[in-house]
Amino acid sequence: MKFLLQRIAFYLFTAWAAITINFFIPRLIPGDPVTSLINKFQGQMSTEAIQSLYVLFGLDKNASMWSQYIDYWGQIFHGNLGLSFTFFPTPVSDILKQSLPWTIALVGITTFASFMIGTALGVLAGWRRGSWLDGLLPVTTFLSSIPYFWLGLLAITFLAGTDSFFPSSGGYEPGLVPSWNGEFIGSAIQHSLLPAITILISSVSGWILSMRNMMVTVASEDYITVAHAKGLPERRVMVSYAARNALLPNVSGFALSLGFIVGGTLLVEIVFSYPGIGYNLFQAVGAKDYPLMQGVFLVITMSVLIANLVADVAYLLLDPRTRKEG
């Protein structure tokens, strides 16, 4: 329990740090591109909306940094992230609310699946060191060196097309209205298959490799020798003795590298025009839509923090030592 509380405190601290970074980035960098955007939309924006952008980007030069900071926090707590310029006049929070479920479904499920598959293959590769499974390693290294988005481009060229089963872009059939019926869900799954496979192929190798290396290390521990000597079946030694202990560092590695993985997977959304957060970020960058960019960054960071917390709980369940201390 103490472990969990410590982690929660750390994530709260990180959340604070991320929001503070977000506060300072537009203020430290010279020139304010937001002013010109505000001028462009001058007639169409309410004074309230302009005021919120002033608070977010520190355009009010008269206010002190401290009072700007307080105002900024007040606005974040109200979920007011300003107006998007790309989708004018929709508030940023509404856009994110729409696209977040898509990203969580695609990136969340595939990241988890890739971790599970990679770990399972890594257990085998580490246990049967020197067998044909070692030949997998160079192949997976090559696959993991390919940028996610480029693999996506290849997948679209070779697998998608007008008469193919795989659609090349979008999250669902253009004519459908998002709802919880069979037709829509089927279409959504069909559209997410190709991006999911792309992410899976390029992210799985990292897990295979780290799990293999942990298995190789664990396999020469004394307790494994004892388990062998007791005459336990090979399978049982591999799964309950070696893999169980090798898994722990991999789980904490999973938590730590989530930030890296999520960054890469967002690009897959761009290539497939998938209606998630990553595609929003791409649109925002193209249109220099700073409020949307900042909103996307905040939402991604918060999601990664929550995912980290979940990974920590999993670690807590897997490792009896952390429970004992509490």
Partner: protein, 348 residues
């Protein structure tokens, strides 16, 4: 393990020579690792292209011509773009930007990670708490979106700026690993001895501790270069860094924005992507070489199957007692012990 054939070969002149060779090459052991050697050769090739690329490129990468969207041919090895630009020249010229940003960002991030990681591990106490909290924060915050946000806020981000942003945001992983290793080194006897003889803290860190961290620092550097190259190409691909400077990401940016896919112009994005993948693989191979150099256990075992005198094969594995499988009994049997155990069971 002692098949008669092997004892015969040991007598032939090749035997002693083979045994002596590794001892001579002690210093080059790292290069002798096939993975590291392959990686280093490929990396050297890319460095060479980065230096001479702009001179050997057959065309000006930005020069337009009348050969619009042409497939690879003798004149244009990698084909042409929608403006008739030569893609082969673009890849050659673009290598310099990629290598420059990758190496510079790697150097910046490695320097920061050594500074923060080692001092945090060595100093301990409040300084350690603060510094490791800082690196944990940077580790958890998604790096790529942060880099995108910062780079897009800076007006006209060139190669140097991109390298700075990537270097300043991606040191956390190395710092964390270095801190852990420093913590374990700090209390070793030889460091205590150095402290007892009155060596200054600075000297202990640079002379006693840093040399023992070389492998970790090197692998951290290579890892950061991989990440930096990927991030830079990503920035160029989504159109944040200036598109006037050529790099592999810029090529992909134009390929994507000009609908190369829909036009079936595979040559537009395949060479640049393959170049990225090959460079990334080379760097990963160097990293595996370093890992295996430090921890020989990780080496993928070459010939692990050994023939026994009675014609069975057994697989040798580090940390495992080889178990002979007899063809009559299905379950693995340890040669002598199990038989007596079975007899004992039968007797009982």
């Amino acid at each position: 393990m002692s098949a008669p054939a092997s004892t015969v070969t040991a007598v032939t002149p090749e035997g002693p020579v083979e045994a002596a060779a590794p001892a001579k090459r002690q210093r080059l052991r790292f290069v002798a690792n096939p993975k590291a050697a392959t990686g280093l050769v490929v990396l050297a090739f890319f460095c060479l292209i980065a230096i001479i690329g702009p001179w050997i490129a057959p065309f000006d990468p930005s020069a337009r011509s009348s050969d619009l969207i042409q497939a690879p041919s003798g004149k244009h090895w990698f084909g042409t773009t929608h403006l008739g630009q030569d893609i082969f020249s673009q890849v050659l010229v673009g290598t310099r930007g990629v290598m420059f940003v990758g190496l510079l960002a790697g150097i910046i991030a490695t320097a920061l990670s050594v500074l923060i990681g080692v001092s945090s591990g060595f100093l301990g106490g409040a300084a350690d708490e603060g510094l490791s909290a800082l690196s944990n924060v940077f580790l958890v915050i998604p790096a790529l979106p942060l880099i995108i946000i910062v780079a897009s806020t800076i007006p006209s981000a060139g190669d140097l700026m991109v390298a700075l942003v990537i270097g300043l945001t991606s040191w956390a992983w190395g710092a964390r690993v270095l801190r852990a290793q420093t913590l374990s080194l700090r209390r070793r006897d030889y460091v205590e001895a150095a402290r007892a003889t009155g060596e200054s803290t600075w000297r202990i860190i640079t002379v006693e501790i840093l040399p023992n961290l070389t492998a970790i620092i090197a692998s951290g550097f290579v890892g950061t270069v991989i990440f930096a190259v990927m991030s830079e190409i990503t920035l160029a691909f989504i159109g944040i860094s200036t598109i006037s400077e050529w790099n592999w990401g810029t090529i992909l940016f134009w390929a994507q924005s000009q609908q190369a896919l829909a036009q079936g112009a595979w040559w537009w994005f395949v060479p640049a992507g393959l170049a990225i993948a090959v460079l990334g693989t080379a760097l990963s191979l160097i990293n595996f070489g370093i890992d295996e150099f430090v921890s020989p256990r990780l080496r993928s075992a070459g010939h692990t199957k050994v023939k026994t005198t009675d014609g069975h094969t057994v697989r040798m594995r580090v940390g495992f007692t080889p178990v002979l499988s007899t063809s009559s009994a299905k379950e693995p049997v340890t040669p002598v012990l199990r038989k007596t155990a079975d007899k004992a069971k039968g007797a009982a």
